[in-house]
C-alpha cells in the first residue's frame, strides 16, 4: 500500500479497515489467515510511514492472530484425522506395491517362497483392578493436600496482587484538576494566559515533569494552548475557552 492510502485507511474506523482488507473476499468466505496477515502488514506499514498506531489496532491484530492460530490448529487437527482415516488405505496401497514388486522380482529371479503359517497375536487388555479401602483413604489425604496447596497458591496470588495495587489518582481526575486550577488563576488574575511556573512548585522537579506531561495531554485535546516564544524560554498556558467554568460544572473528559 502507498503512504497516502495507508494514511487514509488509518483515519477510518477499524471496521472500515477490516472491510478494506477483505474487499476481495466474499463475505461468507473470509479467510482469517489472510486477513490476519494483511492486518499485521498494515500495522507494519503504519510504523514504516511513521504514523501513530492506536492501541485498539494492536488489540485487533492480536485477536486476529489468535483466531488465525485457532483456524490453523483446527485445520491441522482435521488433516490429522483425515490422515488417520486414510492410513488403512495407505497401508493397502503399500501392500499392493510390495506385492507387485515381489511379483516382478519373482518373475525375473524365479524365486519360489512357500507361504508360512499365519501369525496370530494374542489379545490382552490392560486390566483395571478393583480399588481397596486403603487406597480410598490415601486418596482422601491426597485430596486434602491438593486443596491446601490450591488455597496456598490463591493466598500467594492475592498477596502478589496486593503488592501491585497502585494508590494513584486517576489521570482524568488529575487533568481535570489541572485544567480547573488554570482556569481559576486566569479568572482571578484577569489575564488571558499564565506562566507554567505559576502552576508548579519550583523545587519539586518530579512535579514539574508530571505537570508538563499533563499539560501536553491538555494541549493535545485542545483544552489549552501552550506558547513558548523563544527556545528554552518561558512556557505560557492559555485556555482555549476561558469563559467555560472549571471542573465542577464541566468535567474534563480525556479523548
Amino acid at each position: 500500500m502507498e503512504q497516502v492510502q495507508v494514511k487514509e485507511i488509518a483515519e477510518e474506523p477499524w471496521e472500515e479497515t477490516i472491510d478494506f482488507l477483505t474487499a476481495d473476499m466474499p463475505p461468507q468466505e473470509i479467510d482469517i489467515t489472510v486477513l490476519a496477515d494483511r492486518y499485521r502488514e498494515y500495522l507494519s506499514e503504519l510504523q514504516e510511514y511513521d504514523l501513530s498506531i492506536p492501541a485498539k489496532a494492536i488489540r485487533i491484530c492480536a485477536e486476529l492472530l489468535k483466531m488465525k492460530t485457532q483456524a490453523l490448529e483446527y485445520e491441522q487437527a482435521n488433516e490429522d484425522e483425515e490422515m488417520m482415516q486414510e492410513e488403512p488405505m495407505k497401508f493397502e496401497d503399500e501392500e499392493i506395491i510390495e506385492q507387485e514388486e515381489y511379483m516382478e522380482q519373482e518373475e525375473t529371479e524365479k524365486i519360489h517362497v512357500k507361504d508360512g503359517p499365519d501369525l496370530e497375536i494374542p489379545v490382552k487388555t490392560k486390566p483395571r483392578r478393583r480399588m481397596q479401602l486403603d487406597e480410598l483413604k490415601t486418596a482422601l489425604e491426597d485430596a486434602v493436600e491438593v486443596k491446601q496447596r490450591r488455597d496456598e497458591r490463591q493466598e500467594r496470588r492475592a498477596e502478589m496482587d496486593q503488592e501491585f495495587e497502585m494508590d494513584e489518582e486517576d489521570l482524568t481526575q488529575k487533568l481535570n484538576n489541572l485544567l480547573g486550577s488554570i482556569k481559576n488563576k486566569i479568572t482571578t488574575d484577569s489575564t488571558e494566559k499564565i506562566n507554567f511556573d505559576e502552576l508548579v512548585n519550583q523545587n519539586n522537579r518530579q512535579e514539574r515533569i508530571e505537570k508538563f506531561k499533563h499539560m501536553l495531554h491538555l494541549e493535545n485535546d485542545q483544552k489549552v494552548k501552550l506558547i513558548q516564544e523563544e527556545f528554552l524560554g518561558d512556557l505560557e498556558v492559555k485556555p482555549e475557552d476561558v469563559n467555560e467554568k472549571p471542573e465542577q460544572e464541566t468535567d474534563y473528559v480525556a479523548n
Partner: protein
C-alpha cells in the same frame, strides 16, 4: 450353552469398559435379553461353584469381570491401574467422608473438573445424586459399600484417627 458361557467369559475378560446386555446379545447372536440374563446368572454360579478368583460385577453401565475381593490384596500390585483415575477416586473419597454433601461444596474443594468426576461416579454406581434447589446432594450408594466391603461410610471415616478438616 458351555460354548456361550466361554464366549461371554472372553468378552468380559477382553472388554475395557463394562459390557451391556445388548452388547452381549449381539456378540452371542441372541435375540432375547432374558436369555442373556440367564446366561450371566449361570456363568456367575459357575464361577462360584468352581471357586474361581473372578466374579461378575454389575453396574448401571453394564457387566464387568473382576478379581474377587478376597484375592485383590494379594494380586493388586500386578495391575497398577485402578478402576477409577486419581482425580475421580479423590473426589469419591471426599464425597464418602462428607456424605451426604452438596455438589457445590465438592466443586468448591476439587475445582470444576469434579463435575466430570461426579458424572463418572454416578454412572459407575458409586454415588447417587439428588437435585436440591440449585445444587445436588451427593451420597454414596450400596454398591459403594459392597465394593469396598464395608457396612457403612462411618467404617470408612473410622479409618482416620484425626478428624480431617474440610472447609465447606
Amino acid at each position: 450353552m458351555e460354548e456361550k458361557k466361554a464366549k461371554l467369559e472372553a468378552a468380559l475378560y477382553l472388554a475395557e469398559e463394562p459390557v451391556t446386555r445388548k452388547e452381549i446379545a449381539d456378540i452371542m447372536n441372541l435375540g432375547s435379553i432374558g436369555y442373556v440374563d440367564m446366561l450371566i446368572q449361570e456363568f456367575e454360579e459357575m464361577l462360584e461353584e468352581q471357586h474361581r478368583g473372578l466374579e461378575i460385577i454389575q453396574t448401571e453401565q453394564g457387566y464387568e469381570l473382576k478379581v474377587k475381593k478376597t484375592h485383590i490384596e494379594d494380586v493388586s500390585h500386578l495391575a497398577p491401574h485402578q478402576d477409577l483415575n486419581n482425580g475421580e477416586i479423590r473426589t469419591l473419597s471426599l464425597i464418602a467422608y462428607n456424605s451426604p454433601i452438596e455438589q457445590a461444596n465438592i466443586i468448591e474443594i476439587r475445582g470444576n473438573r469434579a463435575y466430570q468426576h461426579v458424572k463418572e461416579l454416578v454412572n459407575r454406581g458409586f454415588v447417587e445424586k439428588e437435585k436440591d434447589g440449585r445444587t445436588s446432594i451427593l451420597d454414596v450408594t450400596d454398591f459403594f459399600l459392597d465394593y469396598f466391603d464395608i457396612d457403612s461410610v462411618d467404617e470408612f471415616k473410622e479409618n482416620f484417627e484425626d478428624e480431617i478438616e474440610i472447609e465447606k
